[in-house]
């Protein structure tokens, strides 16, 4: 019997490509003087966090921007078009114990098809030490028609680490179909897995464009806040946006099983997606 269902590509690491860019960016934030001794986090403590490691490379240009109180700030500037098919990109960012770091981006990242039809990989690894705070607030990832990107985001949080994390995916540029976008988000807190989710959209991902998953929406995002303050006061469930079925952006903010809250939003476009994620962030 002929199988009619497209078999999804296995999620193991693909074979090493013949061509394509390999680049890793590294960022380390270290607590300023007096920042490490405070048990309640770094916001009010000590001097401004320093950036002993700030290495760009390939498509990543890292720009140090004006710090804010004790928080070091870095802006990710795309130096070239990436990821293209075949590229292997990686970002590692660490906020060491007591440090405070915010990472933003200057523009959206666009996943584009490569010359060979090979897939691209983009791995983000964030590490947050005790009493440290990391804000990861990039611009959306846009999956262009014909592209094929595997993304992983792995986050390791120490027991008293704080995280603010935003992820936005736009399926297709204006007026085009989406590429293939598979993204795994794994958050560990004190060694225990707090959140493990994979999104798979576009060609090769069965069932993605259905009323159980996206319901016709083309923008999807998450906003995650984790920290010890949720241990005693879990977040309250809050519905965001319009009623189901009217096509408008909708979402929910809800407590995870550990000390963290996650907002999940689907929207017709990036603008309404951001608006609702901002609402979730505003608490």
């Amino acid at each position: 019997m002929t199988r009619t269902v497209p078999r999804p590509v296995a999620p193991q690491a693909p074979a090493v490509p013949a061509a394509g860019l390999r680049a890793t960016a590294r960022i380390v934030a270290r607590a300023g003087h007096g920042g490490t001794s405070r048990s309640n986090g770094a916001e009010s403590g000590g001097g401004t966090s320093r950036l002993p490691v700030l290495e760009g490379g390939g498509p990543f240009a890292l720009r140090r921007v004006q710090s804010h109180a004790d928080q070091a700030r870095v802006c990710l500037v795309g130096a070239m078009s990436a990821p293209l098919g075949g590229d292997r990109l990686r970002i590692e960012a660490t906020a060491e114990a007591g440090a405070s770091l915010r990472i933003t981006a200057a523009a959206a990242t666009v996943a584009l098809p490569g010359r060979t039809g090979e897939l691209a990989t983009y791995d983000v690894h964030l590490t947050v030490g005790d009493g440290a705070r990391l804000e990861w607030l990039p611009e959306p990832l846009i999956s262009a028609e014909g592209s094929d990107l595997r993304m992983t985001t792995t986050i390791d949080l120490a027991p008293t680490a704080r995280l603010v994390f935003r992820e936005e995916q736009i399926l297709g540029r204006s007026g085009e179909h989406t590429g293939a976008l598979r993204s795994r988000l794994t958050v560990r807190q004190a060694g225990r897995v707090l959140l493990d989710q994979e999104t798979a959209y576009g060609p090769g991902a069965p069932g993605w464009d259905t009323s159980a998953v996206l319901g016709g929406h083309r923008a999807v995002g998450q906003f995650l806040v984790a920290g010890p303050e949720f241990t005693d006061r879990p977040a309250e469930v809050r519905l965001l946006g319009g009623a189901a079925g009217d096509g408008a952006a909708q979402g929910v903010l809800a407590p995870l099983a550990g000390p963290a809250a996650l907002a999940t939003v689907v929207a017709p476009d990036g603008l309404s997606l951001r608006r609702l994620l901002d609402q979730a962030a505003a608490g």
Partner: protein, 259 residues
């Protein structure tokens, strides 16, 4: 069942003790009952198995209210999406539990894959009901131990997987049972919600059997990888609308189904 999956089970049974310890799998000799009692699968997968499923729509009730499900065709679309996301995750957990991986670690893995409390609560409530039925039908020390460790209920697919193991079924059998239940529940609910022709609803399930087979095999292969690679190898497919709608539905003052 495909030959490939049969082979995967063999591989699993022969895998190294070192790797098994990392996820709490039992000694190799305990895996010997695999494949002994296929008929038990019919009992386990029967829609009348008294484990509480009849009161749940699997997200179909809010999908009907939103106008997403209005006939057999839209029911099929919904079920296909649910099957390849929530169904795949549940089938992976069940296959892993049936393969003998530590049910408590699997229960944590289920929590990490269920980002909204409404669905975690439903999974635990149904898990507790499944546990009651399973301990009466296929009593085992493993079920007793999980019941003692999670008196408020472990996630239902984990309990079902362990029940399958107690019944002498394979990980693939457990994955099939969970995957099938994952779409038969909504289909049955939509028959009640929309007065949909029950023949049409059953035809929808029949049209999804290729997808079912694919999901069950994919889940089983992932469970086998989890033996060596850890529980991160288990599927974690997310369905944002199911999560959002589950919380909205939980707040409805009047509803026909518990979820």
């Amino acid at each position: 069942m495909s030959e490939r999956s049969e082979r995967a089970i063999q591989r699993c049974a022969l895998s190294e003790c070192e790797a098994e310890r990392s996820v709490g799998a039992p000694p190799v000799e305990d895996w010997g009952s695999v494949g002994m009692s296929r008929a038990a699968l019919l009992v386990l997968a029967d829609g009348r198995f008294p484990a509480g499923g009849h009161a749940h729509s699997g997200g179909a009730e809010p999908a009907v209210a939103a106008g997403h499900i209005k006939d057999a065709a839209t029911l099929e679309t919904f079920c296909r999406g649910r099957l390849h996301t929530a169904g795949l995750v549940a089938a992976g957990l069940a296959a892993a539990a049936a393969a003998g991986l530590d049910p408590l670690l699997l229960d944590d893995a289920a929590d990490a894959r269920t980002p909204v409390p409404a669905l975690r609560q439903v999974a635990r409530r149904l898990g507790r009901q499944m546990m009651r039925a399973a301990r009466a039908t296929w009593p085992s020390a493993a079920l007793d131990a999980l019941a003692a460790a999670r008196p408020r209920g472990a996630h239902q697919p984990v309990v079902l997987g362990l029940a399958a193991r107690s019944a002498g079924l394979t990980p693939l059998d457990a994955a099939y049972a969970v995957a099938y239940e994952n779409i038969s529940g909504p289909a049955t609910a939509v028959v009640r919600l929309l007065s949909l022709d029950p023949f049409d609803a059953t035809a929808v399930l029949a049209r999804l059997t290729d997808d079912l087979e694919q999901v069950a095999e994919q889940a089983t292969e992932a469970a086998h990888r989890a033996v060596t690679e850890g529980l991160g190898a288990l599927p974690a497919a997310s369905a944002p609308l199911l999560d959002i709608a589950a919380e909205a539905h939980a707040a409805w003052p009047v509803r026909l189904f518990a979820s």
